[in-house]
């Protein structure tokens, strides 16, 4: 192994010595290095490059300081202008969408306020009717069938339970108009029931 290495080293040393010696002899300088071909090659070269278009420019702008093309000279300001336009566009878009969200929020808030006032009004009316009926019923208890009274009270309890659930649903989704309508409808049903009961039992307000 070592012998082989030494042999190779000596061989390379011999080559280097010979190269040093032969370096002084420049045979190739004797030759003519400017020879025109028999035929003009340009027509073939030209036909190949004619449809190739412009060569791809890969030179960095810093390497051609005095001869930059218009594109090379203007790319920085053009890029900056494009960036500014993009930033401005983004700002306008975000402002518009913020304004839209603000409007929507305000609309929702005013709608909720309206719904609350409507529900409050209905509840006041309902409380008034219910109190009136309770007073009337307590005065007529002796003349009305107790089973009928119990049945009416059970129905009123059911209506109260349904109203309570609807109020909770309205609190969870204040913008859902269906719940408000259902609550109003429930109170209207109760009112109709009480009126029928009063009429059937000859009660007068």
């Amino acid at each position: 192994m070592s012998y082989k290495k030494d042999s190779m080293k000596n061989k390379q040393q011999g080559v280097d010595d010979d190269v040093k010696y032969l370096d002084e002899v420049k045979y190739l300088d004797e030759l003519n290095w400017d020879i025109q071909p028999d035929r003009d090659l340009w027509p073939d070269v030209h036909s190949n490059i004619r449809f190739a278009g412009k060569p791809e420019l890969l030179v960095k702008s810093s390497t051609l300081p005095a001869h930059k093309s218009a594109v090379q000279r203007l790319w920085m300001p053009m890029s900056m202008a494009a960036c500014m336009m993009l930033a401005l566009g983004a700002f306008v878009m975000s402002s518009l969408s913020f304004q839209r969200a603000q409007d929507t929020y305000q609309l929702q808030a005013s709608y909720i306020d309206y719904q609350k006032s409507q529900i409050s009004l209905i509840e006041q009316q309902h409380a008034h009717v219910r109190a009136q009926f309770t007073t009337l019923l307590s005065g007529e208890l002796g003349t009305i069938n107790p089973a009928t009274v119990a049945e009416v009270q059970a129905v009123l309890l059911t209506i109260d339970s349904a109203s309570l659930e609807l109020k909770e649903a309205i609190l969870a989704q204040p913008t859902n108009a269906n719940y408000s309508s259902m609550l109003a409808h429930t109170y209207q049903q109760e009112l109709n029931l009480l009126n029928k009961f009063k009429t059937a039992n000859g009660m007068s307000i």
Binding site: Y27, L28, L31, W33, I35, W42, I49, K54, V59
Partner: protein, 181 residues
Amino acid sequence: MLEEESQLVLRSQSGDQIAYEKLYRANIGKVFALCLRLCGQKELAEDLAQESFIRAWQKIGSFRGDSKFSSWLFRLTSNVVIGHLRKHSKWQVDSLDEEDSYETSEWQQTQSVNRPFGLHQEIDKALRCLSDTARVVLIMHEYLGYQHNEISDITGMAVGTSKTHLHRARKTLKAQAEQAA
């Protein structure tokens, strides 16, 4: 008066084919001679010179102006010729132990009818006796002035192999010159 080379290069880079023709006219003799010496055959040298100028047009955008245009063109031409030799002939990049690597190949023996004209006869004859690889290394080192590490980069052969090819090629040329003397 010829336009300055750098102006012609810049115009060519922007797609000016008239400027490129001027560059072609100024360099075709040198490129053809290089191709002729590297491959040893006139018709093939014409094709390779033509291919070199087509390739140069495609790549002229990558010329940074750090060196002379002709140096850049010669390197590109060397690559074109070496690429051709790799594909079509015996191309040895491994280390050499046998002298027979320098025997004249069959291909070269059959090309006697295509000998280049107007060259120094004996040196030309000696060049023809070299293998493709040795001839390329000799020309790249002695004519184009490349160092062995550069030759290694371009040809893919080891630096030591390049040195060995050069050494033997020089010996062959020296022997031929002495014989002629």
